[in-house]
Symmetry: C2
Subunit: 318 residues, 2 copies
């Protein structure tokens, strides 16, 4: 079992009725600043406010009828939780969502809003996995892992498919890396559709496990990560890393202050709301970490779910 | 001299190379909340971050060659100033921009960034007009009034033309009213293209001169206005009001707290940055001031220029 272009295209056909075809936006001002042509794929406009709607929908709608009837389960404190709850509701099946007890109220409300059944647990990885295993044993639900799942990866890869359809002659596609579901899907889709197009990933320096793993040639997990880009605190998954090694040109890191500056510049210039995890890609351009001069560059903006009461330039976090 | 559809369509042909064709966005969540189909025309994505780019471009490119060479002048502390400076630079002619001495640094920088020549004056209407008149006497520049100008109105009306092209069967088009340039252009374009479509305008209750004038059947200026919607503090113009009386169904008012709530809801739900003046239209729906149930409603989001350091839900202004 692996990930390839036919699987990503099949995912696209499967989820098309359930997702937005998000627009690709450009900015003359940001192009001039970068000396490049930048094409922003706006997954902040996606259902549930993030690309996670794609992978969750593909995984849920790929289940056979008997499995589906027993429901799905996952553990997540973020956008994947809402995405699984939403996909399950669309299919009319139960969704059991294990969330750490310190999850934000906003995120829990989003899951409940989509009809997900929340089980709170201690905020440790062990407690999350144990709670999830208990639910699966009791209900027969299928685990929808946020990234170590080829159906999820295939779904995430559909954003790059749309980007390449809209802008066929990209020299470079950039996206963030956390667990590696989006990056694996993006890299396989991009390189299969146009082998000459490079894929470069970006990661916060304070959660640089994927970059370190990439240099080491093997998964090097970090015990502790600390970044404002909350979607990217996860360590990269093993099946994801194998695909990343094969298809990705480079993984670069960016500082927290640059992430905040990049986020603010995109809000001010493009008039769109993106979350910190989305901003790491443009941050890499600001830091000069990626050669973009005179190139056509696709950037995947991954999501737009932020707490408007705690904006980083107001609270001073950096 | 007046405003009619041929003039607006000619404006559209004239300015097309110089403006964005902005997208029309929708939101399943906001539709469900309103019990209507809402179509948001995103002029926050327009050049200079506001619809003002349209009217200024049309006025500047409508000048004959001899007049153009003597330059243009205007007085404004807001988006119109940047829009005139930008249009003048595109035509390669001088722009003299009179700004009150208390204008925000951000706005002055925007004008300078487009090559506008700023003349600061005392922050009174008399001082602004006097400074502008002096420049015009000395240079022969043409005044580009922000709204009492039929070329400006024709340009502003092109946003409604595009909206009606993208969504031909609207029951209702809503936009804000300040000086009335956008409203006059929108009303003439909408009612000429589809007489069955109603036009309703929205205004802050704390700057309700247009609503009061509409009820009185004559222009009733307000000496003092005080609203967070800084683009709507202006009194409605006389030529604008005449068109508004003829083509507009109603002008409704909204409270400051609702403007802020509407702005925040649109940021959170649609992931776009809009300024308070843009939010008054959706605020009218939130306050139940306009009958939208089961109707197809176009809403013009006028701009996205906000100070991210002074967001109203953070600073507590309401």
């Amino acid at each position: 079992m692996t990930l390839d272009l036919p699987r990503i295209l099949a995912a696209h056909d499967r989820i098309r009725p359930h997702i937005h075809r998000t627009p690709v936006l450009t900015s003359a001002r940001l192009d001039a600043a970068a000396g490049a042509k930048l094409f922003f794929k706006c997954e902040n406009f996606q259902k549930v406010g993030a690309f996670k709607a794609r992978g969750a929908a593909n995984a849920v709608f790929s289940l056979d009828e008997a499995s589906a009837r027993r429901g799905v389960a996952t553990h997540s404190s973020g956008n994947h939780a809402a995405a699984v709850a939403r996909a399950a509701r669309l299919r009319g099946i139960p969704a059991h969502i294990v969330m750490p007890s310190n999850s934000s109220k906003v995120k829990a409300r989003a899951v409940e809003g989509y009809g997900g059944q929340i089980v709170f647990c201690e905020p440790t990885q062990a407690a999350r996995e144990e709670a999830c295993a208990r639910i699966i044993a009791a209900t027969g639900a299928t685990l929808i892992h946020p990234f170590e799942n080829f159906d999820v990866m295939a779904g995430q890869g559909t954003a790059a498919v749309e980007l390449m359809q809209d802008v066929p002659d990209l020299d470079l596609v950039m996206c963030p890396v956390g667990g590696g579901g989006l990056l694996a899907g993006t890299a396989v889709a991009t390189r299969s559709l146009r082998p000459a197009t490079e894929v470069v990933a970006t990661e916060p320096a304070q959660a640089a496990d994927a970059a370190q793993s990439f240099r080491a040639g093997k998964v090097v997990p970090l015990a502790k990560t600390n970044t404002i880009a909350d979607g990217l605190r996860t360590n990269v998954g093993a099946p994801n890393f194998e695909l990343i090694q094969r298809y990705v040109r480079d993984i670069v890191t960016v500082e927290e202050a640059t992430i905040i500056a990049a986020m603010r510049t995109i809000w001010e210039t493009m008039k769109i709301v993106i979350e910190p995890s989305s901003a790491v890609v443009y941050a890499a351009i600001l830091e000069g970490k990626v050669a973009v001069a005179n190139r056509r560059v696709g950037l995947i903006l991954t999501g737009g779910n932020v707490d408007l009461d705690a904006l980083p330039w107001v609270t001073g976090r950096s």
